[in-house]
Symmetry: C2
Subunit: 127 residues, 2 copies
DNA sequence: GTAAAAAGTAGTAACGATTACTATTTTGAG
DNA sequence: CTCAAAATAGTAATCGTTACTACTTTTTAC
Protein backbone atom coordinates (compact mmCIF):
# COMPACT_ATOMS: atom_id res chain seq x y z
CA UNK A 1 0.00 0.00 0.00
CA UNK A 2 1.39 3.42 -1.00
CA UNK A 3 0.95 5.30 2.16
CA UNK A 4 3.54 8.01 2.40
CA UNK A 5 1.53 10.77 3.97
CA UNK A 6 1.01 10.87 7.71
CA UNK A 7 -2.62 11.80 7.08
CA UNK A 8 -3.31 8.71 5.02
CA UNK A 9 -1.61 6.52 7.61
CA UNK A 10 -3.81 7.90 10.36
CA UNK A 11 -6.96 7.49 8.29
CA UNK A 12 -6.14 3.82 7.68
CA UNK A 13 -5.25 3.31 11.35
CA UNK A 14 -8.56 4.79 12.43
CA UNK A 15 -10.50 2.57 10.05
CA UNK A 16 -8.58 -0.56 11.03
CA UNK A 17 -9.15 0.12 14.71
CA UNK A 18 -12.94 -0.13 14.62
CA UNK A 19 -15.63 -2.50 13.39
CA UNK A 20 -18.38 0.13 13.41
CA UNK A 21 -18.42 0.98 9.68
CA UNK A 22 -18.13 4.70 10.36
CA UNK A 23 -19.15 7.73 8.32
CA UNK A 24 -16.63 10.19 6.88
CA UNK A 25 -17.45 12.64 9.65
CA UNK A 26 -16.64 10.08 12.34
CA UNK A 27 -13.36 9.18 10.67
CA UNK A 28 -12.55 12.88 10.42
CA UNK A 29 -13.20 13.48 14.10
CA UNK A 30 -11.13 10.45 15.15
CA UNK A 31 -8.28 11.59 12.93
CA UNK A 32 -8.33 15.04 14.47
CA UNK A 33 -7.56 13.51 17.86
CA UNK A 34 -4.20 12.52 16.37
CA UNK A 35 -3.79 15.24 13.74
CA UNK A 36 -5.72 18.30 14.90
CA UNK A 37 -5.12 20.15 11.63
CA UNK A 38 -6.24 17.45 9.20
CA UNK A 39 -8.94 18.72 6.87
CA UNK A 40 -12.22 17.11 5.94
CA UNK A 41 -11.33 17.27 2.26
CA UNK A 42 -8.20 15.25 2.93
CA UNK A 43 -10.27 12.54 4.59
CA UNK A 44 -12.67 12.45 1.65
CA UNK A 45 -9.88 12.37 -0.92
CA UNK A 46 -7.91 9.65 0.84
CA UNK A 47 -10.93 7.48 1.43
CA UNK A 48 -11.70 7.73 -2.28
CA UNK A 49 -8.12 6.77 -3.15
CA UNK A 50 -8.06 3.93 -0.64
CA UNK A 51 -11.32 2.63 -2.06
CA UNK A 52 -9.93 2.82 -5.57
CA UNK A 53 -6.86 0.86 -4.46
CA UNK A 54 -9.02 -1.74 -2.76
CA UNK A 55 -7.72 -0.93 0.73
CA UNK A 56 -11.08 0.05 2.17
CA UNK A 57 -14.68 -0.75 1.35
CA UNK A 58 -17.46 1.80 0.83
CA UNK A 59 -20.96 0.92 2.01
CA UNK A 60 -24.26 2.51 1.00
CA UNK A 61 -27.02 1.67 3.43
CA UNK A 62 -29.48 4.37 2.42
CA UNK A 63 -29.21 6.64 5.45
CA UNK A 64 -27.75 9.52 3.46
CA UNK A 65 -24.14 8.84 4.48
CA UNK A 66 -21.37 6.82 2.94
CA UNK A 67 -19.90 4.32 5.39
CA UNK A 68 -16.41 2.84 5.27
CA UNK A 69 -15.00 -0.52 6.29
CA UNK A 70 -11.30 -1.20 6.85
CA UNK A 71 -11.89 -4.94 6.53
CA UNK A 72 -11.74 -5.77 2.84
CA UNK A 73 -12.12 -9.52 2.88
CA UNK A 74 -15.34 -10.54 1.18
CA UNK A 75 -18.21 -10.40 3.60
CA UNK A 76 -21.70 -8.97 3.87
CA UNK A 77 -23.41 -6.53 6.16
CA UNK A 78 -26.69 -6.21 7.92
CA UNK A 79 -28.18 -2.77 8.53
CA UNK A 80 -30.73 -2.20 11.24
CA UNK A 81 -33.10 0.47 9.98
CA UNK A 82 -34.24 1.17 13.52
CA UNK A 83 -30.98 1.90 15.35
CA UNK A 84 -28.63 2.24 12.37
CA UNK A 85 -26.22 -0.46 13.51
CA UNK A 86 -24.21 -2.14 10.79
CA UNK A 87 -23.15 -5.72 11.48
CA UNK A 88 -20.65 -7.89 9.66
CA UNK A 89 -21.90 -11.14 8.27
CA UNK A 90 -20.01 -14.06 6.75
CA UNK A 91 -20.97 -15.25 3.27
CA UNK A 92 -23.96 -17.54 3.59
CA UNK A 93 -23.60 -20.96 2.01
CA UNK A 94 -27.23 -22.01 1.94
CA UNK A 95 -30.66 -20.47 2.02
CA UNK A 96 -29.89 -16.86 2.58
CA UNK A 97 -32.89 -15.73 4.53
CA UNK A 98 -32.84 -18.65 6.96
CA UNK A 99 -29.13 -18.18 7.32
CA UNK A 100 -29.36 -14.53 8.27
CA UNK A 101 -32.30 -15.13 10.53
CA UNK A 102 -30.38 -17.77 12.47
CA UNK A 103 -26.98 -16.17 12.34
CA UNK A 104 -27.87 -12.62 13.27
CA UNK A 105 -31.09 -13.20 15.11
CA UNK A 106 -32.67 -10.47 13.00
CA UNK A 107 -35.95 -10.04 11.15
CA UNK A 108 -34.47 -9.90 7.71
CA UNK A 109 -36.19 -8.05 4.91
CA UNK A 110 -34.53 -8.84 1.63
CA UNK A 111 -36.64 -6.46 -0.44
CA UNK A 112 -34.50 -4.01 -2.30
CA UNK A 113 -30.80 -3.97 -2.43
CA UNK A 114 -29.68 -4.11 1.08
CA UNK A 115 -29.91 -6.64 3.84
CA UNK A 116 -31.81 -4.73 6.43
CA UNK A 117 -34.41 -5.17 9.10
CA UNK A 118 -34.34 -5.12 12.86
CA UNK A 119 -31.35 -6.25 14.87
CA UNK A 120 -31.90 -8.39 17.96
CA UNK A 121 -31.79 -5.55 20.46
CA UNK A 122 -34.31 -3.49 18.49
CA UNK A 123 -36.65 -6.46 18.33
CA UNK A 124 -36.56 -6.66 22.12
CA UNK A 125 -37.20 -2.93 22.49
CA UNK A 126 -40.24 -3.05 20.22
CA UNK A 127 -41.64 -6.37 21.41
CA UNK B 1 -54.47 2.53 -1.72
CA UNK B 2 -55.54 6.05 -0.82
CA UNK B 3 -54.85 7.82 -4.02
CA UNK B 4 -57.13 10.77 -4.41
CA UNK B 5 -54.84 13.25 -6.02
CA UNK B 6 -54.27 13.16 -9.75
CA UNK B 7 -50.58 13.76 -9.11
CA UNK B 8 -50.18 10.69 -6.93
CA UNK B 9 -52.08 8.58 -9.46
CA UNK B 10 -49.73 9.66 -12.22
CA UNK B 11 -46.63 9.01 -10.09
CA UNK B 12 -47.80 5.47 -9.40
CA UNK B 13 -48.70 4.92 -13.07
CA UNK B 14 -45.26 6.06 -14.13
CA UNK B 15 -43.56 3.73 -11.65
CA UNK B 16 -45.76 0.77 -12.55
CA UNK B 17 -45.09 1.26 -16.25
CA UNK B 18 -41.35 0.66 -16.10
CA UNK B 19 -38.92 -1.89 -14.76
CA UNK B 20 -35.93 0.47 -14.85
CA UNK B 21 -35.84 1.45 -11.14
CA UNK B 22 -35.77 5.16 -11.94
CA UNK B 23 -34.51 8.15 -9.98
CA UNK B 24 -36.80 10.87 -8.68
CA UNK B 25 -35.71 13.14 -11.51
CA UNK B 26 -36.72 10.56 -14.11
CA UNK B 27 -40.10 10.04 -12.46
CA UNK B 28 -40.57 13.80 -12.33
CA UNK B 29 -39.83 14.22 -16.04
CA UNK B 30 -42.15 11.36 -17.01
CA UNK B 31 -44.91 12.82 -14.85
CA UNK B 32 -44.52 16.20 -16.54
CA UNK B 33 -45.39 14.63 -19.86
CA UNK B 34 -48.85 13.99 -18.40
CA UNK B 35 -49.04 16.83 -15.86
CA UNK B 36 -46.83 19.68 -17.09
CA UNK B 37 -47.31 21.69 -13.88
CA UNK B 38 -46.43 18.99 -11.36
CA UNK B 39 -43.65 20.07 -9.03
CA UNK B 40 -40.55 18.18 -8.02
CA UNK B 41 -41.45 18.56 -4.34
CA UNK B 42 -44.76 16.82 -4.98
CA UNK B 43 -42.93 13.87 -6.52
CA UNK B 44 -40.58 13.65 -3.56
CA UNK B 45 -43.38 13.92 -1.02
CA UNK B 46 -45.59 11.35 -2.70
CA UNK B 47 -42.77 8.88 -3.18
CA UNK B 48 -42.01 9.17 0.53
CA UNK B 49 -45.67 8.60 1.37
CA UNK B 50 -45.97 5.68 -1.04
CA UNK B 51 -42.87 4.14 0.45
CA UNK B 52 -44.28 4.57 3.95
CA UNK B 53 -47.50 2.87 2.85
CA UNK B 54 -45.56 0.01 1.26
CA UNK B 55 -46.75 0.83 -2.26
CA UNK B 56 -43.28 1.45 -3.69
CA UNK B 57 -39.78 0.34 -2.80
CA UNK B 58 -36.80 2.64 -2.33
CA UNK B 59 -33.38 1.42 -3.47
CA UNK B 60 -29.95 2.75 -2.47
CA UNK B 61 -27.28 1.55 -4.84
CA UNK B 62 -24.56 4.04 -3.91
CA UNK B 63 -24.62 6.24 -7.01
CA UNK B 64 -25.82 9.31 -5.12
CA UNK B 65 -29.46 8.93 -6.14
CA UNK B 66 -32.40 7.21 -4.57
CA UNK B 67 -34.09 4.78 -6.96
CA UNK B 68 -37.71 3.64 -6.83
CA UNK B 69 -39.40 0.39 -7.73
CA UNK B 70 -43.14 0.02 -8.31
CA UNK B 71 -42.90 -3.74 -7.87
CA UNK B 72 -43.15 -4.42 -4.15
CA UNK B 73 -43.12 -8.20 -4.06
CA UNK B 74 -40.01 -9.44 -2.27
CA UNK B 75 -37.14 -9.66 -4.69
CA UNK B 76 -33.52 -8.56 -4.98
CA UNK B 77 -31.60 -6.38 -7.35
CA UNK B 78 -28.30 -6.45 -9.09
CA UNK B 79 -26.51 -3.18 -9.79
CA UNK B 80 -23.87 -2.94 -12.50
CA UNK B 81 -21.29 -0.46 -11.29
CA UNK B 82 -20.06 0.01 -14.86
CA UNK B 83 -23.23 0.97 -16.73
CA UNK B 84 -25.54 1.64 -13.78
CA UNK B 85 -28.19 -0.85 -14.87
CA UNK B 86 -30.36 -2.25 -12.11
CA UNK B 87 -31.75 -5.73 -12.71
CA UNK B 88 -34.47 -7.60 -10.83
CA UNK B 89 -33.53 -10.89 -9.31
CA UNK B 90 -35.70 -13.56 -7.69
CA UNK B 91 -34.88 -14.70 -4.16
CA UNK B 92 -32.13 -17.30 -4.37
CA UNK B 93 -32.79 -20.56 -2.59
CA UNK B 94 -29.26 -21.94 -2.47
CA UNK B 95 -25.70 -20.74 -2.63
CA UNK B 96 -26.14 -17.11 -3.34
CA UNK B 97 -23.02 -16.33 -5.28
CA UNK B 98 -23.33 -19.30 -7.62
CA UNK B 99 -26.99 -18.50 -8.03
CA UNK B 100 -26.38 -14.91 -9.10
CA UNK B 101 -23.52 -15.90 -11.31
CA UNK B 102 -25.68 -18.41 -13.17
CA UNK B 103 -28.93 -16.48 -13.11
CA UNK B 104 -27.70 -13.07 -14.20
CA UNK B 105 -24.54 -14.05 -16.00
CA UNK B 106 -22.70 -11.37 -14.01
CA UNK B 107 -19.41 -11.17 -12.18
CA UNK B 108 -20.86 -10.77 -8.75
CA UNK B 109 -19.00 -8.96 -6.02
CA UNK B 110 -20.75 -9.49 -2.73
CA UNK B 111 -18.44 -7.26 -0.73
CA UNK B 112 -20.34 -4.56 1.07
CA UNK B 113 -24.03 -4.20 1.22
CA UNK B 114 -25.16 -4.36 -2.27
CA UNK B 115 -25.16 -7.02 -4.93
CA UNK B 116 -23.08 -5.40 -7.56
CA UNK B 117 -20.52 -6.16 -10.20
CA UNK B 118 -20.54 -6.22 -13.96
CA UNK B 119 -23.58 -7.14 -16.00
CA UNK B 120 -23.21 -9.44 -18.97
CA UNK B 121 -23.02 -6.68 -21.58
CA UNK B 122 -20.35 -4.78 -19.65
CA UNK B 123 -18.28 -7.96 -19.35
CA UNK B 124 -18.37 -8.27 -23.14
CA UNK B 125 -17.39 -4.64 -23.63
CA UNK B 126 -14.41 -4.95 -21.29
CA UNK B 127 -13.29 -8.44 -22.32
C1' DG C 1 22.91 18.73 -1.63
C1' DT C 2 19.80 21.41 -4.60
C1' DA C 3 16.31 22.80 -7.76
C1' DA C 4 12.43 21.81 -10.36
C1' DA C 5 8.44 18.83 -10.89
C1' DA C 6 4.91 16.10 -8.86
C1' DA C 7 1.83 14.89 -5.32
C1' DG C 8 -0.44 15.96 -1.10
C1' DT C 9 -2.71 19.21 2.20
C1' DA C 10 -5.68 22.91 4.68
C1' DG C 11 -9.13 25.81 4.08
C1' DT C 12 -12.83 27.50 1.65
C1' DA C 13 -16.23 27.88 -2.05
C1' DA C 14 -19.41 25.56 -4.96
C1' DC C 15 -22.53 21.75 -6.19
C1' DG C 16 -26.66 19.25 -6.22
C1' DA C 17 -29.93 15.80 -4.28
C1' DT C 18 -33.16 16.32 -0.92
C1' DT C 19 -36.06 18.71 2.51
C1' DA C 20 -38.55 22.60 4.41
C1' DC C 21 -41.50 26.42 3.87
C1' DT C 22 -45.36 29.40 2.16
C1' DA C 23 -49.12 30.98 -0.26
C1' DT C 24 -52.65 28.92 -2.95
C1' DT C 25 -55.75 25.26 -4.56
C1' DT C 26 -58.29 21.01 -4.03
C1' DT C 27 -60.88 17.71 -1.41
C1' DG C 28 -64.61 15.93 1.28
C1' DA C 29 -67.70 15.81 5.42
C1' DG C 30 -71.73 18.10 7.21
C1' DC D 1 -72.61 25.69 -0.24
C1' DT D 2 -69.05 26.13 3.68
C1' DC D 3 -65.18 25.46 6.02
C1' DA D 4 -61.40 22.87 7.83
C1' DA D 5 -58.02 19.60 6.45
C1' DA D 6 -54.91 17.98 3.12
C1' DA D 7 -52.39 18.51 -1.15
C1' DT D 8 -49.88 21.31 -4.50
C1' DA D 9 -46.55 24.61 -7.06
C1' DG D 10 -42.85 27.18 -6.53
C1' DT D 11 -39.04 28.62 -4.10
C1' DA D 12 -35.61 28.81 -0.36
C1' DA D 13 -32.71 26.35 2.68
C1' DT D 14 -29.99 22.25 4.14
C1' DC D 15 -26.05 19.49 4.19
C1' DG D 16 -23.10 15.60 2.52
C1' DT D 17 -19.85 15.74 -0.89
C1' DT D 18 -16.78 17.64 -4.51
C1' DA D 19 -13.96 21.21 -6.60
C1' DC D 20 -10.69 24.75 -6.26
C1' DT D 21 -6.59 27.49 -4.68
C1' DA D 22 -2.55 28.69 -2.43
C1' DC D 23 0.79 26.38 0.13
C1' DT D 24 3.73 22.46 1.83
C1' DT D 25 5.94 18.04 1.41
C1' DT D 26 7.91 14.46 -1.29
C1' DT D 27 10.22 12.68 -5.25
C1' DT D 28 13.20 12.92 -9.16
C1' DA D 29 17.19 14.53 -11.87
C1' DC D 30 21.47 16.38 -11.84
Amino acid sequence: MRNYSKQREVIVEVLRSTDTHPTVQWVYEKCREKLPKISLGTVYRNLTELKKDGDVLELSVGDGFQHYDGDVKEHMHFYCHNCGTILDCEMPKNNLKDFLQNKLNCEVNLSGYVFSGLCSSCINLNG
